[in-house]
Symmetry: none
């Protein structure tokens, strides 16, 4: 099953948008064992879109086109598809009704420009859009299926996941097993893999790394009955998932299953830890409260951190980090509390405390933990690393991995 | 000056790397007034690379190819270029010497595989690589110049900035003016633009929209002496920037300049509002504290929201939103406070309150504001929209745009 991806739009071509539909699609397709063979970014040029859509369909089994389906004058993909199919169109009342319903719910009149969206190439299937106005379309062209999806990422993801991916993965693709690891350097992961796979096999494993962890993609032919067990032995509690769920999903699941509640006290992460947890639907069952105590005064008033402690050790210190976690635990009445204090940069460094110095704390009734880290990277990266180190400490605690946590126990409190 | 970009590599095609050379190049080219007309991602397939490189060169003034220049067996771009130029090669001693010097400095022997890098298409220019081993190459093909650059981003950036960009921007490039707008639908922005520009001119303006606002990119030829003034009249206080700064940058600047302090009380945005503000370096001067009051209990304890008020109106209500903002103002002792409460979805809808229903509040000593919104989109999009509606209310207040804010004043409190 070979698939080409075409993303449309002058703003995409000029990188004037954060949308990266090509990358999203190729990642999900690859993870599902479907091979993306080409990605093309084209401008808003109707003739060119028609031509390239036809060529792509002639070369592969399916073409996914994103963008240019909306109601504005530079949305030309539907027109390009109509041209590719010889100009024959039909008017779909279901599209009109769905768009009118959407605007009615928002208390708005349907703008005239949206009426055109109901005119589609004759014979096309409508792929309903539950997130936005413009539906996706699917058309048979030669031996290939062309899928037209909106460019707005949330809408594209929804239609792709609901309709396109299920159709495509009926194919003969080879699934990949994803192993997710936290708390090891990429070079160290590579070294350990060499104990299990020879160089030829290892070269077939792709590895990606970012602040949320390291992902290994193993093609199915490499995964024998005992491979997962061997990897678990190799990486121990560093493995946080053998699926594509995120660290925050894992943590929220563990909280729910253990019936534990959580609060967080954040300084340098500044709400990013709370926000990452709350991004998981249903987080409200376990997440009670967050304190974004950015100023020293708020650390004192909200979390009961001693004014003199901040004076003596500085706000970026193990002592204050521990006191923040204990304060959040008490104030929120949660079972566990996480805390963060650090220097995200670019300013804020002092003598002996450089940009990237961060402390991550965790308090429960029976014990208190604190990790000192010196993170590389820019302001956002430092904050993101802080978030994931905190979530990983929580994961280790909730999954009973005492050994790795034990070295972070703060004993004299 | 029309440029095509080709990025090479199975790992790029499968999004197994974070490298995004296409995006980097298109952004820099666009910013320099050079038009990227197509971006293509191709697999490690020598014949295909040869073919597509030739086609691209036939269509435009310059082609930039990244990736596949290294010494490993899947590096095929140099071979593809040799094939495109009929197989004629020459051996460049300067390349061999530079590579040997690099390895010598690292205390290493030059691996045999690197010797091939010195064999290049006859007539190609060498673009020295000051960061890594493989040099870039430039070749004249028909009326077009083909630039071959390494795929490693740091190496590619260095060669591109030192050699390629200066050659290309000798051309007829044109800078663009960015106008950023908040609080209007994209269709409404287009309608207003029609009052100022005829269809032919309007088509030269590219428009992007996301929850953080709408961006208009105007090519310099469209910007006369009075154009910015006319646009200001057209969009009034909806314009929040005539540069590429973000809404949060604008807001933090306004807070600093007015010497005002801010606190936030968040429910459905769950830390995302605080985190967005704190992403701006130096936010600590103005941002005092955030309350992520996700549970009803925390709304009561931290912000003093009346238990009976939540019982009577529900946590997602104007009354509770206003009380949250007033509570944050008092608890944090800030000059202004923002609050959010809503249903981000996918769960949480109740009779009469559907997913996407959100209230955004703002309190100061002299007045209280609240906006009711029904946001479309998925959980993250709804939260992001909430964040930017809140920041925009703050911007209007701080920049003295009373008129648009006045309709959100809550009078009976």
């Amino acid at each position: 099953m070979k698939v080409e991806i075409i993303t449309i739009g002058n703003e995409v071509l000029r990188s004037e948008t954060r949308e990266n539909n090509g990358e999203y699609l190729s990642r999900i397709l690859t993870g599902s064992g479907i091979e993306p063979v080409r990605i093309t970014v084209l401008p808003d040029d109707q003739d060119l879109i028609t031509e390239e859509m036809g060529k792509a369909a002639g070369r592969c089994d399916a073409v996914i086109v994103t963008g240019g389906l909306g109601p504005t004058v530079d949305d030309l993909t539907r027109q390009a598809a109509i041209a590719l199919f010889g100009g024959q169109t039909e008017l779909k009342d279901e599209i009109t009704e769905s768009i009118e319903k959407r605007f009615r719910e928002l208390g708005l009149q349907t703008p005239e420009s949206y009426r055109d969206l109901a005119r589609i190439p004759a014979g096309a299937r409508v792929l309903p859009n539950s997130v936005g106005a413009a539906p996706g379309l699917a058309l048979k062209y030669g031996r290939s299926e062309i899928y037209l999806l909106p460019g707005v990422p949330a809408e594209m993801h929804s239609i792709f996941q609901s309709f396109v991916l299920p159709e495509l993965s009926g194919g003969d693709g080879e699934k990949k097993t994803v192993i997710q690891i936290f708390g090891l350097m990429e070079t160290s992961v590579e070294e350990r893999l060499s104990r299990l796979f020879d160089e030829r096999l290892k070269a077939q494993i792709s590895i990606t790394a970012d602040p949320a962890g390291i992902k290994l993609y193993l093609p199915a032919r490499l995964v024998k009955d005992d491979t997962i067990d061997s990897l678990r032995k190799l990486f121990g509690s560093h493995i946080f998932s053998i699926a594509s769920e995120k660290m925050e999903d894992v943590v929220i699941d563990l909280l729910k299953n253990s019936g534990s509640t959580l609060s967080v006290a954040e300084s340098f992460t500044g709400g990013l830890l709370a926000s990452t947890l709350i991004s998981v639907p249903g987080a409200s069952e376990s997440f009670l409260e967050g304190f974004v105590t950015y100023s020293n005064e708020s650390k004192e008033e909200r979390l009961g951190v001693d004014h003199r402690l901040i004076g003596r050790c500085g706000a970026v210190s193990e002592e204050v980090c521990v006191s923040m976690a204990q304060g959040a635990l008490k104030a929120a009445g949660s079972d566990i509390a996480l805390s963060t204090t650090g220097i995200a940069g670019p300013g804020g460094a002092t003598a002996g405390k450089s940009v990237g110095l961060c402390y991550i704390g965790m308090a429960a009734q029976d014990s208190v933990y604190c990790r000192r880290m010196q993170f590389p990277g820019d302001r956002y990266t430092v904050r993101l690393r802080g978030v994931y180190v905190g979530l990983d400490m929580l994961r280790l605690r909730l999954s009973g991995e005492k050994e790795r946590l034990s070295k972070y126990i703060v004993t004299d409190r």
